[in-house]
């Protein structure tokens, strides 16, 4: 009995140690491939090499990030597309974050565990998280673009994405709230804290890990989205002048270049590289911010 148990334990140990290998391996393969193909757009032409090639590469990267696309995206850069993507994302998060946090607070701190309303909202959010992005696209097109009259615009795209990332944000924030031990809530109540201060001084700071995870997952999902945006924020690749303009997101640009524009491969990969790199930066930033926040909380306590 004990021997079989140890054998099983050994097997478990081995599979735990081995599990990251295929995942990390495949992922690094993908990233390596992306870097290899994507950086091609930044290397100086053979004829130009002679000067300081590092400077040339740097200049080409800046050029690519700021210039407008030319010849249907095969030439030029992705300047306006980056701006559009950023604006779509800020609309999305500006709307989704307060609603998401509010809902999460309501669900886990205000409503009794077995309240009918809470269960209903949770269930509907679970279903919402499963709505395929393409259905969000169709819905966004009919609801935001046509019904609310926002047309093909960055605002429509951002709002559609906000609906999409909401369940993720709420779930993660809730997980974070659950991590706060009840003893702290009881202590706060015993000290006569109002609910307001309990939420803002005790719950939210401690749940920041969950919130940041949700934010990262949500940003990832929003940035990565193609299907929901093509019929809401649209295809126009010029510099947007307001949130009411149509603007092409980076992922749509990648899709169009790789699937629809002959000769678009090089810039498709370069754009994909930019997208993945910016996500890496966001992640690192979030981590830094988190550690700093946590430290400050400890200092205040």
């Amino acid at each position: 009995m004990t021997r079989r148990k140890t054998w099983f334990q050994f097997l478990f140990d081995v599979s735990v140690w081995l599990s990251p290998l295929p995942i990390a391996g495949l992922f690094l393969w993908l990233i390596g491939d992306l870097i290899l193909r994507g950086s091609g757009a930044f290397w100086p032409d053979a004829a130009e090499v002679g000067g300081n090639s590092v400077v040339i590469v740097f200049e080409q990267i800046i050029q690519f990030l700021t210039a407008a696309p030319e010849r249907a995206g095969r030439g030029g850069g992705i300047g306006p597309i980056l701006i559009s993507t950023g604006l779509i994302l800020s609309v999305c998060m500006t709307v989704a974050l307060p609603i998401g946090l509010g809902t999460a607070i309501g669900l886990s701190e205000f409503l009794p565990v077995n309240s009918r309303f809470g269960r209903l909202v949770r269930r509907s959010l679970d279903v919402l998280s499963g709505v395929p992005s393409i259905v969000f696209g169709l819905f966004g097109n009919a609801f935001f673009c046509r019904f609310l009259g926002l047309k093909f615009s960055i605002a429509s795209g951002g709002l559609t994405l906000a609906c999409m990332v909401l369940p993720l944000l709420i779930r993660s924030a809730e997980e974070g709230f659950r991590a706060v031990p009840d003893s702290q809530r009881q202590a706060a109540a015993a000290l006569g804290f109002s609910r307001w201060s309990t939420v803002f001084r005790i719950i939210l700071p401690q749940a920041s890990l969950g919130i940041v995870v949700g934010l990262i997952l949500g940003t990832g999902r929003a940035l990565a989205e193609t299907a929901a945006l093509i019929f809401t924020s649209g295809y126009v690749d010029r510099m947007p002048r307001s949130l009411g303009d149509s603007g092409r997101s980076l992922s749509i640009h990648i899709y169009d270049l790789s699937m629809n524009v002959p000769g678009g491969n090089e810039n498709a990969y370069a754009s994909a590289l930019v997208l993945v790199a910016s996500l890496a930066v966001i992640n690192l930033g979030a981590h830094q911010l988190m550690t700093r926040l946590l430290k400050r909380e400890v200092a205040y306590a």
């Binding site: 010849r71 249907a72 995206g73 604006l87 800020s90 500006t94 093909f152 803002f200 001084r201 700071p205 093509i230 019929f231 649209g234 295809y235 126009v236 690749d237 010029r238 947007p240 002048r241 307001s242 949130l243 149509s246 169009d256 790789s258 699937m259 629809n260 524009v261 002959p262 000769g263 678009g264 926040l293 400050r296 909380e297 205040y300």
Partner: protein, 282 residues
Amino acid sequence: MNRSFRAAAVVVAIACAIVAGCESRSTAPTSSKPIEIKQVTITGASTLAPLLSEIAKRFEKENPSIRIDVQTGGSSRGVSDTRSGLVDIGMVSRDLKSDEGDLQRFKIARDGVCLIVHKDNPVPSLSREQIVSIYTGGIRNWKDVGGVDSPITVVNKAEGRSTLEVFTGHFKIDSRKIHADVVIGDNEQGVKTVAGNPLAIGYVSIGTAEYDRESGIPIRLLPLEGIEASVKNVANGTFPMSRTLHLVTKSEPQGAVKEVVEFATSPKVHDLVRGLSFVPIE
């Protein structure tokens, strides 16, 4: 805690400032120069969307008072959105159907459709009967048409795509009888599929295929009925399987829409049409 709130407030304020900045920068020139900006919207065939985007940019440069928004969807979307008045101009990447006669049509370019195989495929050409048989499941192995002894991977286009209609129309195949192994959407997906599978056969826009072959992608364009598949042969009208790319409007175009249509069908954009490997209408 207060400090992190202040930090959050600062972030929000900066975000607002950026958005406001974008807004004010965009409104500033219009308020000093009161020209009315007219908006023209175009939607439809994904094949045409990159071309129209380029044409729109050139047009805007010449006519700063008109803005053109190009969206994409599909030929049928172009037709239905134009009909319902949702957009001003529709893009249609096929000849118009008999029940679409209510729309004004404008030829903008021509395009051929050809069969492609992998570069390493030894089969030099296929007859009409062989192609029909391959696509309807009669011939399943390359050795039956003089190739290697391996199964054929038949690449077909998704239901409703214009290229599929051109293909089935030319070969008089009932699209229900097609026995496909891979179904794809846009042209480049077809090229990538065939380039990655030496046993595949597919059909795509000639312009796309030629451009990709020139840039080193391992595909070969099969001649059709003895005529080489090339943009040149589409231009001189000898290549048998081709289509006309159209713009459509609901009624006789007026004002800004008229200007856009006239510009898009004028010789001023022929270099852009050729740049995307289509054939301009002379």
